[in-house]
């Protein structure tokens, strides 16, 4: 017995000593991070950098293979180590906020943002983010994206995302023809007729993945410009708090139409259980005829299933007869942590990311993208022919006039998942479309008050 006791004690002690040592090793030597010049670092420069480790925190959904490749390249070029932490998507914002609020943020972090969300998304840029107003890479971003990463006229973040309305309906052209549908639907009635025809063939018209929690609310938000078109001044009114979501008859109508689709079985019976991991398979194997995705999705199907001969096309979300092609200058942006011990190294990383060759690496290794939205030359874009033709086919007066609803109005994108839950409740018959809109208003008010927004006082 004594043996057991002493063994436990020994083990404990040796391990705590080990833990203690490990801890002191980990503490970065202060001031090891002397400002490093941004020029190609010489060998000694690299040597100096080898004690620096930058922590980069990103969410599961944004960790494209490109991120891994770029951090490795950065390590090779500068000697600065990068510790890339990929956090499960659903924990991400909670964790990020907790770490920033408690003063222990990662050196570099990603956060979903848009013009109105900048303060709520990253927990106050003025308090937590490095001011990049003088950064050389400022003009890499197109003008449309600058507001999403600026606050009080200062630039805080770098948004590298792709230019596209993001979500349109991808449809199986061949299958449509077989079902006797001649052209892609442009109105709600035509859309409904098409679904009915597909359903009659025993195929699920639309593949939807509600279990993911973020996808099924897209059609409602993507057609923002249509609401604005039907009721000019709507966005402004929503942002001044002179109009409420629940006042909009068009939004209610859109929700009712989406609900009608669900009730008619156009989403199939398993839409609430699908998590989207098998979306390529379902479309390629003709288990479903349509899906709401980005235009690059067609390429993804063809890569995964080269044997598929069906042709695919794209059309705009036709609820409430929408024919507008929206803008969406939002996306995850990358920020530097103000309290970081290695601010210079952080800046170096941003400089590195914005070099044309590295932008190219990012684009080439992100299969979801066909392009990268930047304002400089030197990067070869990969727009597909289908995408180009589609963009050109849209009348100019409806092309990129207004942003999608969640980007054009305040406090809307913040409650994306909650709105999704309300919509599921509507599909189950527990809420009416009007109540869904009222809940959105209530949550907007709560958020606005927590930020002392004068329009909500």
């Amino acid at each position: 017995m004594k043996k057991f006791l002493s063994a436990v004690l020994m083990l404990t002690m040796s391990l705590s000593v080990f833990a203690g040592c490990a801890k002191s090793e980990e503490t970065p030597a202060p001031d090891a991070a002397k400002p490093a010049s941004t020029e190609a670092p010489a060998a000694e420069e690299k040597d100096k950098n080898k004690d620096i480790t930058l922590t980069v925190m990103t969410s599961q959904g944004w960790a494209f293979p490109a991120e891994d490749m770029l951090t490795q390249k950065f390590e090779e070029e500068t000697g600065i180590k990068v510790d890339l932490q990929v956090v499960p998507a659903d924990q991400y914002h909670d964790l990020l906020k907790a770490k920033l609020t408690s003063g222990e943020g990662p050196d570099i972090f990603y956060a979903q943002t848009n013009e109105f969300q900048i303060k709520t998304a990253t927990v106050d840029p003025e308090k937590y983010c490095i001011d990049f107003s003088d950064a050389a890479w400022k003009n890499v971003m197109p003008k449309t994206r600058i507001p999403a990463v600026s606050y009080n006229d200062k630039l805080y973040g770098l948004m590298l995302w792709y230019d596209s309305p993001e979500f349109v309906y991808i449809y199986n052209k061949t299958l449509f023809e077989e079902a006797g549908i001649k052209e892609a639907p442009k109105t709600y009635e035509a859309f409904k007729a098409a679904c009915e025809a597909i359903k009659a063939k025993g195929i699920t018209p639309i593949y939807e993945y509600g279990a993911a929690g973020w996808h099924h609310q897209l059609p409602f938000f993507q057609i923002g410009p249509r609401y604005e078109e039907l009721q000019p001044g709507l966005y402004k009114g929503l942002n001044d708090n002179t109009i409420k979501f629940a006042d909009s008859k068009d939004m209610q109508k859109a929700l009712d139409q989406i609900n009608e689709f669900v009730q008619n079985g156009y989403y199939g019976d398993d839409y609430m259980s699908n998590d989207g991991t098998d979306k390529e398979d379902r479309i390629a194997n003709r288990q479903a005829a349509m899906i709401q995705e980005g235009p690059a999705f067609i390429e993804t199907i063809k890569q995964k299933y080269p044997e598929v001969t069906d042709e695919f096309g794209v059309f705009l979300v036709p609820f409430i007869d929408n024919q507008n092609y929206p803008t969406n200058p939002s996306g995850p942006a990358i920020f530097g942590y103000k309290e970081s011990k290695n601010v210079e190294a952080v800046k170096q990383y941003f400089d590195f990311l914005t070099k044309p060759e590295n932008l190219q690496i990012k684009l080439d290794n992100t299969s979801e993208w066909t392009n990268i939205d930047i304002a400089i030359d030197g990067v070869e874009q990969h727009f597909t022919d289908i995408e180009k033709a589609f963009k050109e086919s849209i009348p100019r007066e409806k092309y990129e006039i207004a942003p999608v609803l969640q980007t054009g109005t305040k406090y809307t994108n913040d409650q994306w998942m909650e709105t999704g839950k309300d919509m599921i409740s509507m599909f189950m018959g527990e809420l009416t479309s009007k109540q869904v809109l009222e809940n959105i208003d209530e949550r907007r008010a709560k958020l606005a008050k927590s930020q002392n927004d004068p329009a909500w006082q």
């Binding site: 659903d90 106050d124 839950k421 599909f427 927590s450």
Partner: protein, 291 residues
């Protein structure tokens, strides 16, 4: 005199200090926050009294339903675990060949991380591609195939089933331990008096098993009231908000950055649990002293 010397108070200090600083103190600070408007957007923390509590009980945000769901989960999940586990323990008590193997296997699920349980069961219970419904299909019993995690009529049932799958082994182990501490001589004596199986169960087994029943109930209550992971990984509160519980509500408030409201919700849970828990533990100790 002697007591003071040989049972010194400094034996208590290490545990008490670490526990006080890192377990209780954060809890107290949390309760303080529940009276403030602290959020991730505010620069200052203002004391606002009971506003957050008022919001929880009067806003349209269904928090009262979350509380109801939590209580319901606590009651049902414990019933469906404790009773079958008791019978299993009785069955696997003594004399059955291979009982150690059975016990071991039945305990396995409680070591799996929730993330894995969620991934597995969401995939297995998928209405079209899941193994469960495919098996029913292969057996020509399609009528049994259901939308396990999204149909309002089945979702709670599925959660309880998965929860029992995970937890029964643990509960059973505690019962087995309790059963083994009952001296065989009690049974022998009773058998001589001609007692039957159920009479033995009622007059010897159950009374002697009270301590392990209490432990299972205490653990079960704290588990049920705090429940988060199993719901989060299986349904994330869905479909809609049908299966939201208090802990998922707290999680949501914290991710929204409304720390004040989140803390208030969390404090309600804590006070409720502490009261129930202390009552039970207190009763248990009284009994011990009597014995």
């Amino acid at each position: 005199m002697k007591e003071k010397k040989f049972y010194p108070m400094y034996f208590i200090w290490p545990a008490l200090i670490i526990y006080g600083l890192l377990c209780i103190l954060p809890g107290i600070i949390g309760i303080y926050y529940s009276f403030t408007d602290w959020s991730s957007y505010s620069d200052k923390i203002n004391f606002i009294g009971l506003e957050n509590y008022k919001y929880i009980f009067t806003s349209g945000q269904d928090y009262t339903k979350y509380i109801y769901n939590t209580l319901m989960f606590t009651v049902v999940s414990n019933i469906v675990k404790i009773i079958p586990a008791l019978f299993l323990a009785l069955m696997l008590r003594e004399g059955l060949k291979g009982q150690n193997f059975y016990r071991g296997v039945l305990y396995f699920p409680s070591v799996l991380p929730y993330l894995v349980i969620g991934l597995l069961f969401r995939s297995m219970l998928h209405p079209t591609t899941g193994v469960v419904n495919q098996v029913f299909g292969a057996l020509n019993m399609d009528f049994l195939a259901q939308k396990w995690l999204t149909d309002p009529n089945f979702v709670w049932g599925s959660i309880f089933a998965v929860d029992a799958w995970r937890g029964i082994g643990y509960v059973m182990t505690i019962f087995i331990a309790g059963l083994q501490s009952i001296p065989e001589s009690y049974y022998e004596a009773a058998k001589i008096d001609g007692a039957g199986y159920f009479s033995l169960l009622k007059h010897i087994t159950l009374p002697m098993l009270m301590p392990s029943i209490t432990i299972n109930v205490v653990f079960g209550l704290t588990y049920g009231l705090k429940v988060f992971d199993i719901i989060y990984v299986l349904t994330n509160g869905g479909p809609g908000r049908m299966t939201e519980v208090v802990a998922t509500g707290i999680f949501k408030e914290f991710s929204d950055g409304t720390y004040g409201i989140g803390s208030a919700l969390s404090s309600i849970l804590f006070v409720f649990m502490a009261v129930v828990g202390i009552l039970i533990v207190g009763r248990m100790n009284e009994k011990k002293v009597e014995m």
